[in-house]
Amino acid sequence: MALQTSIARCNARVGRAPAARVAVKPQYVRGAAQVVAAKKKEIMMWEALREATDEEMERDPTVCVMGEDVGHYGGSYKVTYDLYKKYGDMRVLDTPICENGFMGMGIGAAMTGLRPIVEGMNMGFLLLAFNQISNNCGMLHYTSGGQFKVPVVIRGPGGVGRQLGAEHSQRLESYFQSIPGVQLVAVSTVANAKALLKSAIRSDNPIIFFEHVLLYNIKGETHDGDYCQSLERAEMVREGTDVSIFTYSRMRYVVMQAVAELEKKGYNPEVIDLISLKPFDMETISKSIKKTRKALIVEECMKTGGIGASLSAVINESLFDELDHQVMRLSSQDVPTAYAYELEAATIVQPNQVVEAVEKMCSKVAAAV
């Protein structure tokens, strides 16, 4: 329940993205003098992703979906539920189990004019497609001297779920991080999920689009109309002054749970959802650090070579003089995710760790003053 409350608070505090958000327009009842405000419907994240997919497929006939069980089965997480009935078996293609093969097929189709969305049933399975993702998806535009573009969206659920075992609990964002020529985006709310997927589909770059297994059923509102969110901008979740907390995906909620605690203790943290794991939005990041002078990274990927490792290095190199404290990083342990509940919980970052880290940073800085 605590998680639900913090999610609600989180949604309430979602800052405006730099691009203007379209306000909900009141509905005018014909012939009546009254103005009736339109009620926005709350939907789940999987529905939001489905809406984005559906809208983009309607808008552009070259957009198609490929993946295991995306068609008749409706998608393992329902993101493509019943879309095959509307668009047919070729536009919502049920592939055999051959990740490297169908990833390459999607890339070849993208090079020659289509815009495939390739789903990894679990992002972890895309380890089998690493050859295609690294060599062809990321590098081909460059190696061909700009002749072929690869407008694919590679999407699927990742992250640690509920006792799914080591191989279904992988976080591939750090593995894909170094591949030149790809963008990495992580969604976290119903609103940004739909808006970012629309942008990703329209982008001419290959986008690796990270969803989280435990977020598909969270509820929220989407933006109105044809709203597309920038793929390169971070999201201000909560403005503050004491510390800049950088996070993404499900850890956003863990952070906001911790923030509820921290607020009670009188702290005023700033929370930024990175959204773009690669490239980093250095404008938002540096503005925040210049204000708070403390940086805490909270992520679900492993500590070694993670997104936080890159971010920490960049902050250290470019904002050293703005810092009153070394950059702190809370990441998953460098261990395979165990099946047992307690061990799994100990592998990932928990809210109390975030609270402790903020307290430690702020008190140390206060003592030094």
Binding site: R91, Y142, K149
Partner: protein, 407 residues
């Protein structure tokens, strides 16, 4: 087998070909290999060979040969670097198949791709300049020997990891079928040919691609250039036989296992290759799906210019040298009156001039500027993100000179 994909989204059968009279099914066969054939047994294919086609094939094979031999010279003179894999000896496969394609068809290759690019129409100048690492190369000097691409001529690469190009080729075929079945474009019948070697036929992606191409009935042709050697690994030592075959691990037999015809052809005879190619291409265009062609061929040089080539026997090399496709075709053309000695000499002169010109062009071309470092990493340069001052990094002054910090 009824295909769900024959229908457009509103249920209409997209292809009007269903209304056409039945054609005779392509029979699975092995078209001779080594010893037996004498020239008269290829009567059927000879009949189709016009002087124009014959001369075009001769020109193309000769261009491939002379170009590759020039590459060897240029490499040893320090004009090109890295790994260079020459195609000398295999020209009949490239010319026999690719010259039968249309400009809107696609070709996908491996690192042994120079001649595939030339056969498809990429100018020799652009290929040589690419090999010299100049900015006038077909990939602006960014691809090199193993990564020849041409959007204009439908060359999808150039891949260093064998097998990784095949799904790309299948993807281009998917697009062709999609255009027809989903977008309703009845004229969409472009075909893709993916070329690869005997070593590739043990890579998983090969099988994944065979399965998908057959499953979705894609207009894709798998061309195995079986030259018996994968660097120093003999085909006999790396590939298992089909049950019951004691003599040779035939690759064409893997086709029927996946629901497509498999054909083995004498890859040293351009006319035989062309005959098989025409049938496979026609089959693909009709919408009847993929074909697996195993071309028995041989590379006269080592795997690459760095390969000492000590494992292949002198006898084997001599046997294949005697079947050199270029003198073979010349003999046929003269015998059948498809060309005169003068015609042939003119082709030789033309090819020599073209190859010389390509070297001169490449030599005189400028090297890439540092500005090329960042330009083509992304199709949409916003992919490098936003800098601290709020500008997109591609807007920073150093971007076009390749000096901007992009991460």
């Amino acid at each position: 087998m009824a295909s769900a994909f024959a229908r457009t989204q509103n249920g209409r059968v997209a292809s009007s070909r269903a209304a056409q009279p039945c054609r005779a099914p392509l029979r699975v066969r092995a078209v001779a290999t080594t010893a037996k054939k004498d020239s008269s047994s290829a009567a059927a294919s000879k009949a189709k060979l016009t002087p124009e086609v014959a001369k075009d094939l001769y020109y193309d094979m000769l261009l491939g040969r002379e170009f590759e031999e020039m590459c060897a010279q240029m490499y040893y003179r320090g004009k090109m670097f890295g790994f260079v894999h020459l195609y000398s000896g295999q020209e009949a496969v490239s010319s026999g198949i690719i010259r039968a394609l249309r400009p809107d068809d696609y070709v996908c290759s491996t690192y042994r791709d120079h001649v595939h690019a030339l056969s498809k129409g990429v100018p020799a100048r652009e290929v040589m300049a690419e090999l010299f690492g100049k900015k006038t190369g077909c990939c602006r000097g960014q691809g090199g020997s193993m990564h020849m691409f041409s959007a204009k001529h439908g060359v999808l690469g150039g891949y260093a990891f064998i097998g990784e190009g095949i799904p790309i080729g299948v993807g281009a075929a998917f697009k062709s079928a999609y255009k027809r079945r989903v977008l309703g474009d009845e004229s969409s019948d472009s075909v893709t040919c993916s070329f690869f070697g005997d070593g590739t036929c043990n890579v998983g992606q090969f099988y994944e691609s065979l399965n998908m191409a057959a499953l979705y009935k894609l207009p894709h042709i798998f061309v195995v250039e079986n030259n018996l050697w994968a660097i120093g690994m003999s085909h006999m030592r790396s590939t298992s036989h089909t049950l019951g075959d004691a003599d040779f691990p035939y690759i064409y037999k893997k086709g029927p296992a996946f629901g497509m015809p498999g054909v083995r052809v004498d890859g040293m005879d351009v006319m035989k290759v062309r005959e098989v190619a025409l049938e496979a291409i026609e089959r693909a265009r009709r919408g009847d799906g993929p074909t697996l062609i195993e071309a028995e061929t041989y590379r006269f040089r080592g795997h690459s210019l760095a390969d000492p080539d000590e494992l292949r026997s002198k006898e084997e090399k001599a046997a294949y040298a005697a079947r050199d496709p270029i003198p073979q075709l010349k003999r046929v053309m003269l015998e059948q009156g498809l060309a005169t000695e003068d015609d042939i000499k003119a082709i030789h002169d033309r090819v020599a001039a073209e190859v010389e010109d390509s070297v001169k062009f490449a030599d005189e071309s400028p090297k890439p500027e540092k500005g090329q470092l960042l330009e083509n990493v992304f199709a949409d340069p916003r992919g490098f993100g936003i800098a601290a001052d709020g500008r997109y990094r591609y807007e920073l002054p150093g971007f076009t000179s390749g000096t901007a910090a992009v991460s």
